[in-house]
């Protein structure tokens, strides 16, 4: 480095008042940087709302058009597994909220602990999802050439003559064919949700390692806070998916 550059950079450093090492050069204050990051994250999440919104819209439309098929197809989903998964995901979100709090009050060990808990509950959610998807594969309810309407045309009977799924009714063939659309939307929506979780879990692993090195407990909360926004957003998507997919007309 020649002396000219050295003088210039020293001059710049003197001109700026002292600020934390994580504050980027183009921000006047730490607070301004944090506000900008938070706003940017929200704008990204709004694009995610539009992305999932398209699928929610398709769901609303087909649920009205193919109502009878959607009611019967929805019975194939397990309410105990769905409810358990909702509770697991909410718990994961709670751990994430506590992780943000730990970063704010600069408690490194608690932060790492809560990030790991967030991750464990996230993985538990995906494990339950795997069990559910596997069951759909066995019943040939995955849309495509292997898809079978058999169970909707002839609901499985137990030895005492009642149907295996409570309240299941036999559908005419043309209506039964419409159940494929329910499962198409089910896999598109829960699959996209699961993909977001997998990406989140990958990011969480990275944040856990960096948090253990003390990167986020010196006042630099923004990355944890903004990841929290993402994680809670994924929670909200599931909060809507659960009643819409699992709880259609269970009382009939």
């Amino acid at each position: 480095m020649d002396s000219q550059t050295l003088t210039t950079s020293t001059a710049v450093a003197v001109e700026h008042h002292s600020h934390p090492s994580y504050q980027k050069h183009h921000f006047e204050t730490e607070g301004q940087q944090r506000e900008a990051a938070s706003l940017g994250m929200w704008v990204f999440l709004l694009t995610e709302i539009m992305f999932f919104g398209g699928m929610f819209f398709a769901y609303l439309l087909y649920r009205n058009w193919y109502n009878a098929a959607f009611v019967e197809a929805s019975r194939q989903l397990s309410i105990p597994l769905g409810t358990a998964n909702t509770a697991i995901l909410i718990t994961s979100g709670f751990a994430m909220a506590l992780a943000v709090w730990s970063a704010e009050v600069r408690k490194k060990n608690l932060l790492v602990l809560f990030l790991i808990l967030t991750n464990i509950f996230g993985l538990a959610f995906l494990c339950v999802k795997y069990v559910e998807y596997k069951e759909k594969w066995e019943h040939r309810h995955i849309p495509g050439i292997r898809y079978s309407i058999e169970e909707f045309v002839h609901p499985l009977l137990k030895s005492n003559g009642t149907t295996e799924l409570e309240g299941a009714k036999a559908l005419p063939v043309d209506t039964a064919k419409q159940t494929e659309m329910f499962f198409f939307l089910y896999f598109a929506m829960t699959g996209m949700h699961a993909l977001h979780m997998i990406i989140g879990i990958g990011l969480l692993c990275m944040y856990t390692v960096l948090a253990a090195r003390g990167k986020y407990t010196n006042g630099y909360v923004a990355p944890i806070e903004n990841f929290g926004l993402y994680w809670h957003f994924v929670d909200i998507v599931w909060i809507f998916l659960f009643p819409l997919l699992y709880l259609i007309n269970r009382h009939g």
Partner: protein
């Protein structure tokens, strides 16, 4: 100096750390609402079944946004951004639905 701070921090926002107790109360409410929505699904409310399910989901979503996502404690800029986003989404859904459901008007 005060003019300068008006530019870089126009809302003179104080950073708020949300207490774990608030998070815990929200967590319990979310779990209770999950139980409530499952219970409601088995009751006979006629056309109100999906309405109730969506109302509970909207309530859960709202408290997640306000408390877990700190929007309640955010600046007006963030609040307005979030509100504008959801409103735009609702307008898109409602207007498109109006179109689909009135195309076959009177022909069912």
């Amino acid at each position: 100096m005060s003019e300068q701070s008006n530019i870089i921090d126009p809302e003179h926002a104080n950073h708020h750390i949300v207490s774990p107790l608030v998070y815990f109360a929200v967590y319990i409410t979310l779990l209770a609402c999950t139980g409530l929505t499952v219970w409601a699904a088995y009751q006979e409310f006629g056309i109100f079944n999906p309405v109730i399910a969506l109302a509970i989901a909207c309530f859960k979503g709202t408290i997640v946004i306000l408390f877990f996502m700190h929007v309640l404690y955010s600046t007006k800029l963030v609040k307005l951004t979030v509100f504008a986003g959801f409103t735009t989404f609702l307008v898109l859904i409602v207007m498109t639905m109006l179109d689909y459901f009135t195309r076959a008007w009177g022909r069912w």
